[in-house]
């Protein structure tokens, strides 16, 4: 099993396309950081324009490394799934198209084991991509902008989290984001297992994500209770919950608290269920499939 995984990872990281995602994330994060370094104050003024007149906002303190990381995550975690699909959509279909799948399947490795290893390779790639993003978005932002309290907008209110109470929230948020991105990897892995070329699963994954994200964001009653609670894109943004802090009766925030932990856990459970469904279906179909490529 280890030999197979080693081979999968070796192949994955030998392909130039694997590094497209890393380069894309680096470019986007760099652009955002440069923009906020130059125009951070104006950006915060624009976001908080509705409360600017009623509150005295210390802009220099708000535009710190934690806040920049929050902005980057908000912008990126919607687009990273597309980059995840580049590798996981190709991992089976790409081999079927190149003819190497039949070569692999004439080796003494069970199809189930092969699928588990391939999916593990997708997960490892996704995690490395996320660690890369965390390194650039959090660590580099802290180095460039320093640290301070984090102010985030929650619906119609502003939440301030103390400096010492932030870092663990980012670790938790990245952990949650990892599960969310693995759902995308599982979806494109499933599509890859039923396709004969890699373009199809990649495009299909991106299309599904776009359609479901739009559906998740639409505030239309007909979808609110019937569709939205069950689609995975609704739960993929659950990481934000770690930055919504509880308050006491005096309106003081409680350090170390999360205002709606059950909602986060529910989202996590639904995402894990999706991973199991997509991966299980891929293994079931593939283990019975005739290899004609």
């Amino acid at each position: 099993m280890w030999n197979l995984l080693q081979f999968e990872l070796f192949k994955t990281f030998k392909k130039p396309r694997t590094y497209i995602a890393f380069a894309a994330i680096a470019a986007i994060v760099f652009l955002i950081q440069v923009a906020l370094l130059i125009n951070g104050k104006e950006y915060v003024q624009f976001i908080l324009s509705s409360v600017d007149e009623t509150l005295i906002i210390p802009y220099a303190k708000v535009t710190n490394g934690y806040w920049v990381c929050f902005v980057i995550l908000n912008l990126l975690l919607i687009h990273v799934p597309i980059l995840v699909a580049l590798v996981s959509g190709d991992i089976i279909a790409g081999e079927a198209n190149a003819g190497t799948l039949r070569l692999l399947l004439t080796k003494p490795v069970s199809r189930t084991k092969l699928m588990i290893v391939k999916f593990t390779a997708c997960v490892i790639y996704t995690l490395i991509l996320l660690i890369w993003m965390a390194f650039l978005a959090l660590l580099v932002s802290i180095l460039l902008f320093g640290t301070n309290d984090l102010v985030v907008a929650k619906e119609f209110e502003l939440v301030q989290i103390e400096k010492a109470d932030i870092l663990w929230r980012y670790f938790a948020a990245f952990g949650f984001a990892a599960v969310a991105l693995v759902v995308v990897a599982a979806l494109s892995f499933f599509l890859s297992s039923i396709s004969g070329n890699s373009i199809g699963p990649i495009v299909a994954t991106v299309s599904i994500i776009i359609v479901l994200t739009i559906l998740s964001e639409m505030r239309i009653p007909i979808y609110d209770n019937t569709v939205k609670p069950y689609i995975f894109t609704t739960h993929m943004l659950g990481w934000k919950g770690f930055f919504y802090i509880s308050s006491n009766t005096d309106g003081q925030t409680i350090p170390g608290s999360i205002s709606n932990l059950p909602a986060i856990l529910k989202s996590l459970f639904i995402l894990i269920a999706y991973i199991i469904i997509f991966t299980g279906s891929a293994i079931f179909i593939f283990s019975r499939k005739d290899i004609l490529s």
Binding site: T100, R102, K107, S110, I291
Partner: protein, 311 residues
Amino acid sequence: MKTIIEVANLTKKFKDITAVSGLSFTVNEGDVYGFLGQNGAGKSTTIRMLLTLIRPTSGSISIFNKDLVTHREEILRQTGAIIEKPDLYNFLTANENVAFLSKLSGKSVSRKEVLEILKMVGLSERATSKVKTFSQGMKQRLGIAVALIHDPSLIILDEPTNGLDPQGIADTRELIKNLSCQHGKTVVVSSHLLSEIELIANRLLIIHNGKKIVEGTTKELLDPSKTIVEIDTTDNIAAREILLQSEFNTAVKKLKEEKIILQMDRNIIPSLINFLVKNNIGILSAETRHSLEDYFLSITNPGTNVEPATI
């Protein structure tokens, strides 16, 4: 003699199409088993079923006296294969392809062993080149190296000479013969060319439209006493008259496209040519063909005007 492969009543249907129908055959230890049939006859489907790439609709396959379904991994550990063209990892080097794929077959090989096998197939100087820079013939040879690196007892080669130049074809032939004669390997080799198979196989199976047409030893099927000889001379009509009045009269079959066709023991051909030359008939060409080839052609190319031979 030990049976290595035993196939019984193998059938594969793809919706309404029956690719293989009730096929049964056995391959013995040390055989070079020729698997013949025109394109689309069901050779590749059968080979894919032997390698578990395709699930049979019905029938059974036993390899090394073990059921293929229940002992798949054990059997594949002792099997090396090339299916149709050898598609390898183009973005990896020859070294990397051989080493990693050997590991997957259950054998970790040293760098020296990798180089030895690459040397055997004539690729040692390109060991560190990426496969995408290889010609089709080089890929074919690398495919053979990958199939052999884990020292399998059974080697299955589907059209192994496809895309090779004449030297490559000759080298592959020699390699297959050596694998059987010197290393005692059992080789199943498929082709649509009888001329290719007859040079290496000791047993043959011909299939057509997914069904077995004939199976037997090459000796039985390619009986040299029934060799067809086509002779073109400076005067075919005169040559034919002379032959009909000679000891060769029973061998003369007909005049076809201005040539004389005879059926005879191939050992007598030099005497026949001497006889014609002594009678002042110049020989322009003399081509031999086995009766099986006629038979094979009549099955696989129904449009050709060749009478089926009796086997």
